[in-house]
Amino acid sequence: MSDLYGGKEGTTHLVMGNEAIARGALEAGISVATGYPGTPSSEVIERLAEVAGEAGIYTEWSVNEKVALEVAAAASFAELRAIAVMKQNGVNVAADFILHLVLSGTRGGLVLVSCEDPGYLSSQNEGDSRTFARLNEIPLLEPGDFQEAKDMTKWGLELSEQIGNLVLLRSVTRMSHASGDITFGPVPGERAQARFRHEGAMLDPEGGPMLALGLRHREVQEKLKKAVALFEDSPFNTYEGPEEPELLLITSSACSLYSREAIAVLGVQDRVGLLKMGTTWPLPPELMKKNLSRCDRILVVEEVLPFLEDNVKILAAEMAPEIGIKHFYGKKSGHIPSTGELNPDLVVAALGDLMDLSYEPVPAEFREQADALVANKAPPRGLTFCPGCPHRASFWSIHNALELDGRKGFMCGDVGCYTLAILPTGFSTLRTAHSMGSGSGLASGFAKLKQFGMDQPVLAACGDSTFFHAAIPALINAVHHEADFTLVLLDNSGTAMTGFQPHPGLPISAMSDNAPAVDMEAICRSLGARVEVCDPFDLTRTRETLNDLMDDERGAKVLILRQECALSPERKASKPYEMRVDTASCVGEDCGCNRLCTRIFGCPGLVWDEAAKAARIDEVICVGCGVCADICPHEAILKEEI
């Protein structure tokens, strides 16, 4: 958004939660913003990168989240304000550094923004990194709406500076990717100057070296106590409802919006009190005592783990002599689902049960009519590779090479668009799928099991961005330990799944169109691995090369399959072929074909025409890559160069 930086104080703008966070960082006067692409966090750095020039800030897509936090921490040590942005999985990658960072403390305000994905709408998993705040004894903030997303980011940076330590700000998909109208505040004109003061005494917090020493543990706890004192009066913790409600609903984050709406839907505004917490670790005890005293029945509504619920219960137990015994409802009682994301309907169901109210969203007559007419009529719409995606071609060749090899070989995968190859769209080729770079690590392990009788060929897949993020150490491990496996490096020139951000292998960075590109092929060769390079659209050569590599027992090998992502600007701008199906040649359902293209290959641009009993190109969807013409067994799909 063009006015992210230029937007004036007091003006109203419709922004995504992530844009609000970015604006909040600018209003706090940050100088540095780093991150690694991860849905739903990526827009924070994307938007800041767009205005970096006019705002005079430095933004970076770091090679991984650990390095991103280190780069942001350097800014903080140099007395600049900074944020590091990642999805929940990324916090785990940065965890080792977080553990040490909190011991050395920080100088300029530093906020770690974690955007999480309850219900794994755009992730393999749902995680909950709030525990990292408790684990590392740092403050945790959870914005409850879009205005707070901005305001709390700014306040979080101020808080960090006040206490001299890292602050964790946690958002979720339904905040980060949702949009709301907010009012902007002022952006400071002054730019801070960077200076790392380190000449002082060893434990001098302001001028000494920044050392993560165990003996500073107590300092960490003192800093946290300062934060708690500030939380007692924070405007981000609010109460709405009667002084003495029948039920107290405690919530945070996007769940506060669901809860408020659920209360309105049931019309129980004068029976249910809503305590929305924005500072959720540590919970300010006095505030909690005051609210817990209001009634005896307490419902906690949150995603994903019962973090808030457990912490409230601990406080309640401690305060029991003063506040009495409470009855708790939430995940443990089964009123709130223990997995998945929440929505207003789930909160309505919980409230309805606890308030003994039944609620029918629509008249029964409509519901029955709808069930009869439309329920289950819309066909399932599963995930698939985009039309023209090089991965579809790559996995076609990989799958076939494995079948031809015939020794029950398999491929280990990790995180990216190619993770979809656990599904039929990638011919169910990936047989393990875990974290970034883990496919290579697992493969390095499988390949050392020959002495125990393992004779299955081992492959691993990683993307170009993942290669830099995490796979290199695993590949080095494999080379050094002579692990006989083939790494298939799917180089589509970008971090595709998260929105096509750049990575070190490209001459583009967040700040430059002319950055030094790191040569992946050269890295692999320099490790001493056998390296082959193919265009995945050349199906025959790719498959033959793979079979040859699987027969080669000399240690770790790399096959780079290089072809640009279908969503890259270059490919979107051009259509190489005009495609069409020759209906007369199409064998279709009969013996000799059995609809190989539509039943198995599954590109969305190639549909089945039931009337003609033949395949047909959907010209709106097809991008003209031409690969389907190569898989048709009867040359019925024709490609004509444009």
Partner: protein
């Protein structure tokens, strides 16, 4: 080649299923010998280094893959009726009109023949005469046999020489048919000949079917080796690239000879027999009974072949080849004939008995047998003799 759908059985006994049953009955049971009959028809079956692979599942309930496969639902009775107009009696050598000795004549290329050069000479002649427009033979790439379609008579000789591991030669036949070729000649093993016999019988009852095969020349075969186990075994003895030729000399040698630049090595045949394809143990046919004529070694003389002539077409071709100087024929000595008959009988009895013992000849309502034979033949396997 579009087929129109439902199967009409000839006499109600030969059933056609699909690739799912083919996988269950043949591949999963380890009976596949890699003849190539299922390859080249569709994109789902492929071959790699001698092993047949199914790339993706096909959902059709009936397919040519199943129909052609010589290891399941082979109706020996129906096929014998179709080819020879008589019942299948499990005679050791199958139906024939004459058995002669044969070798390449003066008109055929002098060359590096494995034995008498009869097959190469005959295919050369058949191409020149126009009996066939193309020959489907087996060439090799190192020690891996590779199917090859030949239209120039001179190219026939490159494919001479015994191959000891099974070759998916029929894949080339299927590809040739798919591309519209007709009037084809084949040099095939007994299992492949059975597959071709099924193909020629139009098992899916296609309405516009024409028989694309004009000549089937069979090869005698006792067993064939599984490339996937044989190649690693060899590479443990010498580097594969250094092998010039492999030969199994006649008994009583009991060795396999490996010829490299550095000379000849011998390995015990007993070790080699461990690499025989499992499916071969279930095959009752040693002399390629479903052929126009079949050819094998002549015991005791390395430059001579034994030839069994079966059909009128086969007899006619052989007579003309002899007349035109491509073949030299002789009389088959009694002793050799007896040895041949005994060896063939042995293989047949062992194989059919094994099929019966493992329940593979059961043809009750829901079962799919390997071979369909008349009940009296099956019962005859219980006692001695064949």
């Amino acid at each position: 080649m579009l087929w129109t759908g439902s199967f009409h059985s000839r006499d109600g006994t030969m059933n056609v299923f699909g690739s799912k049953e083919l996988k269950e009955d043949v591949i999963d049971r380890g009976l596949c010998i890699g003849c190539g009959a299922c390859i080249g028809i569709c994109p789902y079956f492929e071959t790699h280094k001698g092993k047949t692979a199914i790339l993706f599942p096909c959902t059709l309930e009936q397919g040519r893959c199943f129909a052609y496969c010589p290891m399941v639902e082979v109706d020996l009775e129906a096929l014998t009726q179709l080819w020879f107009g008589r019942s299948y009696d499990a005679s050791p050598l199958g139906p024939y009109s004459a058995i002669r000795t044969a070798k390449a004549g003066p008109k055929a290329n002098a060359g590096d023949f494995q034995s008498g050069g009869t097959v190469s000479a005959l295919m050369d002649f058949a191409l020149r005469r126009g009996t066939i427009d193309a020959a489907i033979l087996t060439d090799k790439d190192g020690i891996l046999p590779v199917p090859r379609l030949v239209t120039d008579p001179k190219d026939v000789y490159a494919c001479a020489g015994s191959k000891y591991t099974s070759a998916p030669t029929l894949s080339e036949l299927n590809r040739a048919i798919e591309s519209g070729r007709r009037n084809l000649g084949l040099v095939v093993t007994p299992c492949q000949a059975m597959a071709v016999a099924q193909l020629k019988s139009n098992p899916l009852n296609e309405s516009n079917f024409t028989d694309p095969v004009a000549l089937v020349v069979g090869l005698f075969c006792t067993w064939s080796l599984n490339f996937r186990t044989f190649e690693p075994y060899l590479s443990g003895i010498v580097p594969i690239d250094s092998i010039k030729r492999i030969d199994i000399p006649p008994p009583p040698a009991e060795v396999l000879e490996i010829y490299t630049d550095d000379g000849k090595l011998e390995v015990p045949l007993a070790e080699v027999r461990e690499k025989v394809a499992d499916g071969c143990g279930y095959c009752p046919d040693m002399t390629a009974e479903f052929s126009d004529l079949s050819v094998g070694v002549f015991e005791g003389q390395t430059d001579l072949n034994t030839m069994i002539i079966r059909t009128d077409a086969g007899a006619e071709l052989v007579a003309e080849a002899e007349r035109d100087g491509y073949l030299i024929l002789g009389d088959m000595p009694r002793e050799n004939l007896d040895h041949l008959t005994g060896a063939a009988a042995n293989k047949k009895k062992k194989a059919l008995s094994r099929n019966r013992e493992e329940g593979l000849l059961d043809a009750t309502k829901d079962e799919r047998p390997t071979f369909r034979l008349n009940d009296d033949i099956i019962e005859g396997l219980q006692g001695g003799g064949s």
